[in-house]
């Protein structure tokens, strides 16, 4: 965990004071609603369907148990006793009162947290791989680089009113677990032939209304240039990005309009002025930031825990959980554990204050007091001794956080949707629940194997539907909720030459009640057509294309309707 120094703390405190004054001016009638909007949006405060929504930053998804307890306290004191972990590794409170927000921010500041730039057209929370620091295939510890960029982007004077929001992701390992090709800037750590660290710079990816896979504009940027090069990209974007149409204002549209090559030339031309300038990073600064991170103190363990292996053999339910929710760790005898926030009947990513407190206790007892929020909206205890896994499993199960479904169909990513969000065209949460209920047979879900199912309530695609192996998008047709289904999306390396993939829409949209049937049909086709159990749903889609799925779903539509009628009659 990065520990603030005196300056980090002072800046956050000063931001609280500034926002308190802005809120005071608004409540006193000195600022109109229209005036207050751009100010509150620089601080994660939206006015939503029923109440304001406050988005709190969890920089690169890393939290201490103390911070999580504060989030629980906030949920209890100022909200309705729960919070929603988002796909951007942040947490959202859906029911705070506007006049309480300055006090909430002050409470957050006490534990080195804030809501700075969690909304608005600024550089947002930097996201990364939730296994940073513990993965076998690590090249650099991405947390350090995320923190360097967090500081650089925080209260940036020149880039606080960009054409549109700006999302940066850093991946520090060989495998891309941070979706770097789907961000405004993606940075993927690499080493050159001499063993020097640098970053592959990817620009112009993103989801939303116009999903685009990013373009590599630099294969190798030596690490000292990270800030100056990012500054060059941001300056080109700030000056030339479109501002006439918010739907065409993201950097991906500029990159596309200019062409990636022209965009690269613009950036490189700008960079010639900045290169080797004062913002060039120094080894001392990297060491300073590294030194402010607390490091897990690993016990020297000989290797895999023999008792753990014995328990796996003896207890199938534990083995099932371990297979899905326990991940390998670079330290011998340790493991990373995902606590699933995807229990059927609970909105994906939601956690109650009681669960947060309990998870904080688990983190203290089993994972050195730290945890991470994954972009799949789960919580990760990254540093657990294998010898503790069995006890941890028992406790997590009692808390409803041990659903063994990580990587499986029921580990659904979903935005808050029409139940909360004023942008949504349709609800997401009931759709997720209906699918989870339909696939309530765990053995069946295991047989289906790895499958990402992502749901967004509108084109803004906060639920990452474009990169779901199955993606569901809520659309509005004459005031009614409909759902469009796509297949074949993937957030990471898809096959050689394809760093990520966007799903293809299979055809006309469906009514909400039809969705579980359609998903079941898609799965049925997959199970019939797969070559073997190793071939995942997504592999089959790539092998045979969308067409066979489409034919079956729409050809058999009549059947689906009938079945639907029957189920209605039965109800």
């Amino acid at each position: 965990m990065y520990r603030y120094d005196e300056i980090d703390q002072r800046l956050v405190n000063e931001r609280v004071a500034q926002f308190r004054d802005q809120t005071r001016r608004f409540l006193a009638g000195k600022l109109s609603e229209d005036d207050f909007r751009p100010l509150r949006l620089r601080n994660g405060l939206y006015i939503q369907r029923y109440a304001p929504m406050l988005r709190v930053a969890i920089p690169y998804g890393l939290l201490t148990s103390r911070q999580l307890r504060t989030l629980a306290y906030i949920a209890r004191k100022w909200d309705r006793g729960y919070g929603h972990f988002s796909t951007r590794q942040n947490i959202q409170f859906n029911w705070p009162k506007l006049e309480d927000v300055p006090d909430i921010l002050a409470e957050l500041a006490r534990v080195q947290m804030h809501a700075i730039q969690t909304s608005g057209n600024s550089v947002r929370n930097i996201t990364t791989d939730h296994y940073a620091g513990v993965a076998h295939d690590e090249i650099v510890d991405s947390f350090v680089w995320c923190e360097l960029l967090r500081q650089w982007s925080t209260l940036h004077p020149e880039f606080s009113f960009l054409p549109r929001k700006f999302k940066i992701a850093i991946n520090g390992s060989a495998a891309d677990r941070a979706a770097t090709f789907l961000h405004d800037i993606g940075l993927h750590a690499v080493r050159d032939a001499a063993g020097e660290t640098g970053f592959r710079v990817i620009v112009g990816g993103g989801m939303g209304r116009t999903p685009i896979i990013g373009h590599v504009i630099r294969e190798f940027l030596p690490w000292p240039h990270l800030l100056t090069y990012t500054e060059a990209v941001l300056r080109v974007y700030n000056r030339y990005g479109r501002r006439d149409n918010m739907h065409k204002a993201r950097i991906k549209i500029l990159v596309k309009a200019l062409t990636p090559d022209r965009f690269r030339e613009e950036v490189e031309a700008e960079w010639t002025h900045l290169r080797d300038g004062p913002s060039t990073l120094t080894a001392e600064e990297i060491q300073r930031v590294e030194g402010r991170f607390t490091r897990p103190a690993y016990e020297p363990l000989p290797g895999d825990d023999p008792e753990h292996a014995a328990r796996l053999a003896a207890e199938p339910a534990f083995a099932a959980w371990a297979k899905r929710n326990v991940h390998p760790h670079k330290a011998p005898g340790y493991a990373a554990v995902t606590l699933s926030l995807k229990k059927t009947g609970v909105p994906p990513g939601d956690a109650t204050a009681e669960q947060m407190d309990a998870v904080a206790d688990l983190a203290d007892r089993y994972s050195q007091g730290e945890l991470r929020v994954s972009h799949e909206q789960n919580l990760v205890l990254a540093d657990v001794r294998q010898a503790d896994l069995y006890r941890l499993w028992g406790e997590a199960r009692a808390l409803g956080l041990a659903t063994p479904n990580i990587g499986l169909l029921t580990n659904i990513i979903a935005c808050p949707g029409g139940d909360f969000c004023s942008l949504a065209n349709a609800k997401s949460i009931p759709v997720a629940e209906a699918i989870q209920r339909r696939f309530d047979d765990l053995d069946y879900v295991y047989d289906i194997g790895e499958l990402d199912l992502n749901i967004s309530g509108c084109m803004n695609s906060c639920g990452h539907h474009h990169v779901g192996h199955i993606g569901i998008l809520g659309v509005d047709k004459n005031g009614e909720e409909w759902y469009q289904i796509s297949i074949g999306g993937n957030q990471g390396l898809t096959r050689p030459g394809a760093p990520a993939a966007l799903g293809k829409v299979i055809g006309p949209s469906f009514a909400r009640a039809q969705i579980p049937d359609v998903i079941e049909q898609l799965i049925g086709i997959y199970l019939e057509l797969r070559d073997n159990e190793e071939e995942r749903f997504i592999d089959v889609v790539w092998r045979i294309g969308v067409e066979p799925f489409k034919e079956r779903v729409y050809g058999g539509h009549h059947q689906g309707d009938e079945r639907h009628q029957r189920s209605l009659a039965a109800a």
Partner: protein, 177 residues
Amino acid sequence: MAVIIKGMNVISDPWQRLEVGADGSLPPLPPSGDIIVPLVLWRQQRDDLLARPGRLGVWLDSNEDPAAIAEDLRLFGVVAVRIPNITDGRGYSIAYLLRERYGWRGELRAFGDVWRDQLFFLARCGFNAFTLREGEDPREALAAFGEFSETYQGSVTPPLPLFRRRHVPSPDGREGL
């Protein structure tokens, strides 16, 4: 006479700013006095503007390129940049470029939709004079320059990022500022 904030003081503004008409027509030049003219006027009536008595300034709209006046800066008493809307951040980059790339050292003024809430950032990008939007009290707004006591990034002010301004860290990582 209108007031502006300049150098952290509220003063009356000796300059008159000329605007292009809604139909694109260029305004007539007042016979005397200090004027700030839109870029298009400078481009079309350069010689007339240089010949008239009174000081001359030019203003850029947020979509205009500061490179267009880079060669002429020595002729101006002030350069102004219009902020058409608080959410239009191009003026910050224009200011940065005028200061850092083109070497403008004189008065750099922001006008338009300028709120007290932007002053800290605007000043860091090199603006040193501000015409606030209507309804803002410039004296109350002065406090905004001190809203933050430190900055991470280098920009125009200060030019060095925090990590180059820190003292040598002590072994526990705490800074001795």
